[in-house]
Each structure stands twice: as structure tokens, then as C-alpha cells.
Subunit: 202 residues, 4 copies
Amino acid sequence: MGKIEIKKQRKRTSLLDAALELFTQKGMEDTSVSDIVTRSGVAKGTFYLYFRDKYDIRNKLVIYQSRRLLREAYNDMMEAGCELLEEQLIHISNYVLDQLLIRKDLLVLISKNLSWGILKKTMAEMEAEDDDNDFIEKFHALTAPRNITSTKSEIMLYLLVELIGASCYNAILYENPCDLETLKPYLFGSVRSIVAQFAETG
Amino acid sequence: MGKIEIKKQRKRTSLLDAALELFTQKGMEDTSVSDIVTRSGVAKGTFYLYFRDKYDIRNKLVIYQSRRLLREAYNDMMEAGCELLEEQLIHISNYVLDQLLIRKDLLVLISKNLSWGILKKTMAEMEAEDDDNDFIEKFHALTAPRNITSTKSEIMLYLLVELIGASCYNAILYENPCDLETLKPYLFGSVRSIVAQFAETG
Amino acid sequence: MGKIEIKKQRKRTSLLDAALELFTQKGMEDTSVSDIVTRSGVAKGTFYLYFRDKYDIRNKLVIYQSRRLLREAYNDMMEAGCELLEEQLIHISNYVLDQLLIRKDLLVLISKNLSWGILKKTMAEMEAEDDDNDFIEKFHALTAPRNITSTKSEIMLYLLVELIGASCYNAILYENPCDLETLKPYLFGSVRSIVAQFAETG
Amino acid sequence: MGKIEIKKQRKRTSLLDAALELFTQKGMEDTSVSDIVTRSGVAKGTFYLYFRDKYDIRNKLVIYQSRRLLREAYNDMMEAGCELLEEQLIHISNYVLDQLLIRKDLLVLISKNLSWGILKKTMAEMEAEDDDNDFIEKFHALTAPRNITSTKSEIMLYLLVELIGASCYNAILYENPCDLETLKPYLFGSVRSIVAQFAETG
DNA sequence: AATGAATGAGCTTTCATTCAT
DNA sequence: GATGAATGAAAGCTCATTCAT
């Protein structure tokens, strides 16, 4: 009954944990299903009871982790009580960046595998499962006071996500062309001017 | 002799061509060294006379292609005779984007594999080989009139490259969140404000 | 109780039905125990309560199906009231061939798996279970009037079964070297002369 | 040059030999490619340089062995100088049966895998490769004097092959329903009457 | 320099079978 | 009796790399 269900969840989690560690340590390429089950301590066949293949577990991992990160960032911003849209977005960005600086493994996993498509899917799923976690609606709620249409709002979000995601990767991992703290002012400056661009014309 | 040298170059080029086609058609993953040599018409062993492994030929390919694209874009901008830094960078960006829209295979190859590290290496190598092609120096020459220090100049370039590179990927390939033409005004607006940010404070 | 007994029989039959469909559709090779239980709607472990393994259920299937076919053919011949041994055997053969033409799945199942050994076992079991179904005795009863010894009778049956079984396989499935109707006259001619051979010398 | 070619032939032959032994000992089912290469003493990958898979090597084996057997039988018959068609066919049959009695491994291999389709392909290939080995033409040459049309000739051959092939299997392997020597008179009697049937009506 | 046959470790995936529930 | 999660051996097959020619 419940016992079996709990054991199954434990197996699943154990596989996800093992995969996360290995993917972030050795990369997707160099991680085999064999590696995952060995670290997880289950049999090879068991993997296939829970996931279709390596790419399936990768996707589930990326979605889960990025969703969690975003939710935390959003909540942190709400607690801080920023008023202005620019400040809200910078707060969220800052939170995410600081987390990724600490958890470089997540940075690698998410950056290399989180496409805009997956992000939208993530947010859609968040909407479906937790009614208090509809991020896209929340985002629109944030942009609404500035009279930004829904279409433009999405393009803006897209530009911001891509700019932040892409630019922090080298800065955090290789401190190239500069370290994260040096980059931040310019990055947030860019965030500010991108928002301004949409808010003005919106 | 020169003849032998020419034959060797032809082999090398033939392998690079084959690899480009295959990588852009089937992706890195699903392309084997066997596939490359078969299409190239040389023996398996020959591959290893020219490249260390699959990743080596991939890197050389990415560097070569992105270097060529950048050089073309730069020359096109010079011919157009833009005066203002913003306009110069937008012109270059526009040229690159239009090319990638046409050659989606290059987009995939470069986006997936061109990191900031490789780009800098590219430009350094350009400097070494062709003295009239030192792109980084040329870039500094472009930014100098606006009193932007070399360090800031590099950070700016970094932000621009990442923003453009990352944001055009989904727009071109999946027209998501919008197609390239729709995105351009916002993208160039962002370019403008990022440059402004550096030029003001510089 | 009877109820439990009925439920068990239903499970068994359900497994046999599923196996028949799958074996004749995809072949023995490509049918797994998993497939069988899935189609049958019972649990994996349940299979092993009723059958030792895949080969066990295959044998039971072949025996059951060929026994049924033979019984039908025999009854049909008796109703038709043929007098002469040759006509009796040809009638039976004809009935079997026509059935196999309609049910090609049975043809494949039986031809590929029904050996002379299994056939004899079949007939022996028929004898054991149903006293009104002892086919081998019935066959001897048919041959007795022609003074064919029991040994020769068996050899004759053997030759007939092998000839008919083997030759109809390609004719029915691939119409090669000719279709069944074209083959029949020659086949029945051969049956007649084989019987004659034994009857003369018997 | 020739050396490499010879080495390749030796590898191929070595694989074929190993496969023959294993297929006839343990059966197709229970023989894996791993088994074959182990016995052959080559690496796993080498197998796939010469054969597409297990079924490919099986077919090549069956065709080669049955072709060889048939050619020997035909030559033996020609040397014996039989005049009458019946005697010629019985001579060939007898030779084949005696060989299969000695080499039971071949019997299993050929019986289980030699379908009428493969046989015809075999004979067609014999025709293509060796101009003095066109068995099908030779067979027609044998039947021609008796005014048997080409179509009927083929049906006759079909019936004979199926009768002999199927009936000797149990007799040789399990002496069931009787041993080969006991069966032969009846079998040859049947051959004679089948031929008579066609010769009469032809 | 060029070849391509040979290698064999390693991959993904399947599946008959067991056994705790 | 019935279940189905778990097992892990073993399958087929690939492929980067080597090396004798």
C-alpha cells in the first residue's frame, strides 16, 4: 500500500539524485545509465521502470530544479517588498545569480539544457499543479502596472532570461570576461534599460 | 613539395566539409568519425592524421565558420560607412542575424558550440594569422572614440554577444516567442541602451 | 469451490488466448511474457502460476489447437460418410487444408511447432482425457479393413502428415510454387498413391 | 594485397565454421553472436564486418551447405548413370538422406531453416555463379524426356522436396515412427508414385 | 602519407524470473 | 491466489582508436 508507494518514491528520488550529481560532475555525455544505477544502488532494469531513457531523466531534472529556483527567487522578492518592476526583476535575477554562484552544478545543468521551450513548459506545469505558483501570471501581474501588453511582456521576459542566463555562465564558471560581482552592475543596468525600453513604448 | 601540401590541404578541407554537413544535419551526437570519413571519401585512419578526435574537428569548424561570419559582417559594416558606435554594432549584428536566418545549420553549430572562450581564441588566432584581421583591436578602435576603457569595452562586447546569440536562437529556429523581424527592434533597442550605458559612464 | 475453480480456468484461458493472438501475430520470438500478461490483463507473476515458461504455453497451445482441428476434420468426414480409406483421408486432409487457408495464423503456429512427437503426444492425451476421442484408435479402425498392419499404418500416417503439412505451408502462405487449389489435385493424387502403396503390400 | 584478402577469407570462414558448430549444437535460439566470436577467436566487432547479424550468417550457412549437398548428390547420380527419371530422383534422394544420416548437424540446420524460398534462391545463385551448376535447368533436363511441363515439373519437385525433407527429419533424429532404412522403401515408393502421377498426366 | 581491418570496451535495452506484500 | 516492483544477466550492436601493411 502506502509502504510500497513510499519505497517507489524513494527509488525514483534516489535515481534523480544520482543523475543530478553525475550530470553536473561529468556532464550528460559522459554519464551512462550504468553510472546512474551504480551510484543509486539499484539494478539496471529498475532505471527503465521509472524513466524512458537518459534524456527523460535529464528533462525531469532540469524542469524540477529550475522551477524550484524560480519559485524561491519569486518568494524572496515578494518578502523583500520591491515596488518598482525594475527592482523586482533585478531582485529575482540577483537571487538566481547568487544561487547559481553557490551551486555551480545547477548552473551547468540548467544553462546547458534549459531552453526557452522547456522554461515555458515548466511554468505551464507550475500553473497546473500548484495554483499559488503560476509564475507566468505573476509575471504579467508585475508588468501590468506599467501598461506593457502581454505580447511585449513575453518578449521582454525572453530577452531578460536569455541575457542573464547566457552572460552569467562564463562569468560564474570562468570569471570571464570578469567575475560575477563585476558583471552585475552592467547586467542590472542592461536589465533596467531593457525594461525601460518596453515600459516607455508600452 | 607544394603538390603534396596542396593534396593534404584538400584532404583536410574535404574532412571539414563533410563534418560540417553531418554535424549540422544530424548533430554532433549522431555523427561518428566513420560517417565523416565515409562522406569525405578517405580512410578511417586518415582522419586521425588531421584531427585529434571528433571534438577537435568540431572546434576547428566552429572557429573557422564564426571567424568567417564575423569578418564578413565587419567588412559589410565598413563598406556601409556607419559613423556612430551604436549603428556600427547594430549593423554588424544585423548582418550576422540575417546570415544565420538563411543558414540555420550554422546557427545550430555555432550557438550550441561557440562559447565566449572559443570566441576570444578565435579572435586571438585571427590576430596571429592575418595582420589585417585583428578583430579585437578593430573593436577597440570602434569603442575608443567614446572613451570606453578596454576592460569595459570587453564586458560590453561580452554582454552584446551573449544577448544576441542567445536570443536569436529560439526566434530564428522556432519563431518563439516571436519571429526574428519582430524581435529585431527590441533587440537593437537593447543593444543601443547597453552601449549607451557604457558610453555614458565611460 | 467451484467458483474459484471457474475463475482459475478463466485466467488460464485468458492467458492462452492472449498467447495465441500474439504468437500468431508477432511470432514466438518477438512475444514476451510481459506482452502476454499485459494483453491478458493479469499480473506478471500470475503467468508462472499456470505455465512453466513461454515454451510451455506454446506447446499447450499447439496441442490444443491441432487436437481441435483434427477432431473437427474427423467429425466432418464421418458425417460425409466416405466409404473408402483413400476418400476418408483425403476428406480429412481437405478439411484441414481449407481451415488452414482461412486461419493462416493457425497454419504458422502449427507448422512451425507441431512435430511428429507432439502430434503423437496429442493423440495419446486425447485418448487419455476423452474416451470418445481416441484418434489413433480411430485411425487404425479406418485402416484395418484394408489389412494394413499397425506399424505400417503408423508409417503411412506419418508420411501423409509430413507431406501435407510441409507442402501446404508455402502454397498457402506464399502461393509458391502454386496456390492451394492448384496443388490439391497433385497432393491428393500423392495421398492416393501412398495409401495404395501400403494397401497393396499390406 | 593477396595476403590481406586471404586473411579476410580465413576470418570469414572461421566465423562460418564456428556458427555452424554452435547452431547445430545448441540451436539458433541459444547461440549468441558473442558465442560465435568467442569460439572463432575474433573480436565482437569483427563479426559485424562480415555479417549483418545472426540471421545473415545463418542464411549464408544454410545456402552454402545445401548447395554443396545438392551438387554432390547430382554428381553422384550422374556418375552412377541412372537412365529413368524415377531412378535418378531416388538416387539423388538416397544420397542426400545418407549424408544427412551421417551429418545430423546438417539435417537440423537445413531442415529447420531451408524453406522452399531459400532453395530456389540457392539454385538461382548456383546458376549465376557457376555456369556448370544450374541445378534447376538440370532438373528440367531430367524431366523433359517424360513430357512434363515446366510448371508441373516445379510442383513435382516441390512435393518431393517437402515429402523427403519433412519425413526424414524424425526418422533420422528420433527413429520415429521408424528408422531411416525402414522408412526408405515406403518413401521411395511414394517418390515413384508421385513421379508416375506427373509423368502420366504430363 | 594513407589505408582499412581489427579491436573490445562499452553502450542501451530487454526480459524471464523471483519474492515480499 | 494474486500481485508487480525489482532484479541483473545477457543480448545486439557501435565506434573511437590502433597498427600492420
